[in-house]
Amino acid sequence: MGRILVVDDTLFMRTLLKNILFSGGHMIVGEAENGDDAIAKYQELNPDLVTMDIVMPKKNGIDALKGIRTIDPNAKVIMCTAVGQEQMVKLAVKSGARGYIVKPFQAPKVLEEVKNVLGT
């Protein structure tokens, strides 16, 4: 089971993801609501995995992913995308994302992707 940092600008989505991940036995070590906050929390908490929203204020998910990968090239980041953002997914994968989940979330899919990326 992993120590996970949840990054999303909406409280509702963070709460939903936390509930899903907690139900899968994971520990939520922190949450962030923008890209800058995500990079700072990553440095502070050193989580096993990050779930990262793409569209966020201040610094978007792709830039935050790049920032985190600069600090830790082995960082495991799963991008959260909305339907229709397939171009963003391509960009995220090029930037080092290990996986993606699509909004609206479905609990089994989220847990399956987390399991795949964590390699557990």
Partner: protein
């Protein structure tokens, strides 16, 4: 004329037969007599190795044929090319995107699109793909990069095994506009009729989609059971949800309390 081996459903049993694919229709004779002119066919459904063909004169009693995939593909293509449907020659890509990510091996295919009573069919020499109208989530006239150029396409999203699957149709803009209008009209029954959900109801709907049960929804949104019930009623009323289980909440009677008290005595 080509003759193919099929089984034809006849009064609850499957009869082995030879089906002739003729210029103007499908014909069989022998144990079961069949004559289906293509121009009378208004709907086509494929489930596994069974093909249901609905003809005008017996709309409530479709013909059902079973055969191997290769034969069914020939039949489907022939029917789609000649039946009574809104039909266009197009390039299409289906599926183009599955679950938000580009489908592997997605490629533009030269073929056609046929809109029948219950589904949109994309068909080419090698493939026949059906998108049931009831599963269509959205239809949009948009642009996609094709060979380095931004071209107009019609994007059809549908739900398949809980995933959103996108198909794209490419043809001249004037034709696309007609196709878009026709598809919008064909799927009008799925529109929300202007009744948008309030933010709380939308959150409840999303939580239901995510697999949360009623207790989890109450906890997450800090709302009462009564309020969740009220929102469920609204979702059901709008045709957005359906009841799958009615769960009871109980409290123990005096007898029950006594039983538990006794049971936990050391």
């Amino acid at each position: 004329m080509v003759s193919v081996p099929v089984k034809i459903e006849d009064r609850g049993r499957w009869a082995v037969s030879k089906l002739s694919i003729e210029k103007d229709g499908l014909k069989a004779s022998g144990d079961v007599n069949l004559d289906i002119p293509y121009r009378t066919i208004v709907d086509l459904e494929a489930k596994g190795n069974i093909l249901s063909i609905t003809a005008k004169e017996r709309e409530n009693q479709p013909y059902r044929l079973a055969s191997v995939e290769k034969v069914l593909n020939v039949l489907k293509r022939q029917i789609l090319l000649s039946c009574s449907a809104y039909r266009l020659s197009t390039f299409f890509m289906s599926p183009a995107v599955r679950g938000g990510v580009l489908a592997q091996n997605a490629a533009w295919e030269k073929g056609g699109i046929a809109v029948l009573k219950s589904g949109i069919w994309f068909f080419s020499q090698d493939h026949q793909i059906c998108v049931p109208l009831a599963d269509v989530a959205s239809i949009e006239l948009t642009k996609r990069e094709v060979q380095g150029k931004d071209l107009d396409v019609v994007k059809v999203d549908h739900i398949e095994d809980t995933e959103v699957v996108t198909s794209l149709v490419l043809c001249p803009l004037t034709t696309l506009q007609v196709l878009y209008n026709f598809l919008k009209e064909s799927t009008k029954s799925m529109d929300m009729d202007g009744a948008e959900l309030d933010p709380k109801s939308a959150q409840v709907a999303m939580l239901v989609y995510s697999g949360m049960d009623t207790a989890a929804i109450e906890n997450m949104l800090s709302i009462s059971h009564k309020e969740v019930d009220h929102i469920y009623d609204a979702l059901i009323g709008l045709g957005l949800a359906e009841v799958v289980v009615i769960r009871r909440e109980v409290k123990l009677t005096t007898k029950g309390v006594r039983y538990i008290t006794d049971a936990t005595k050391v």
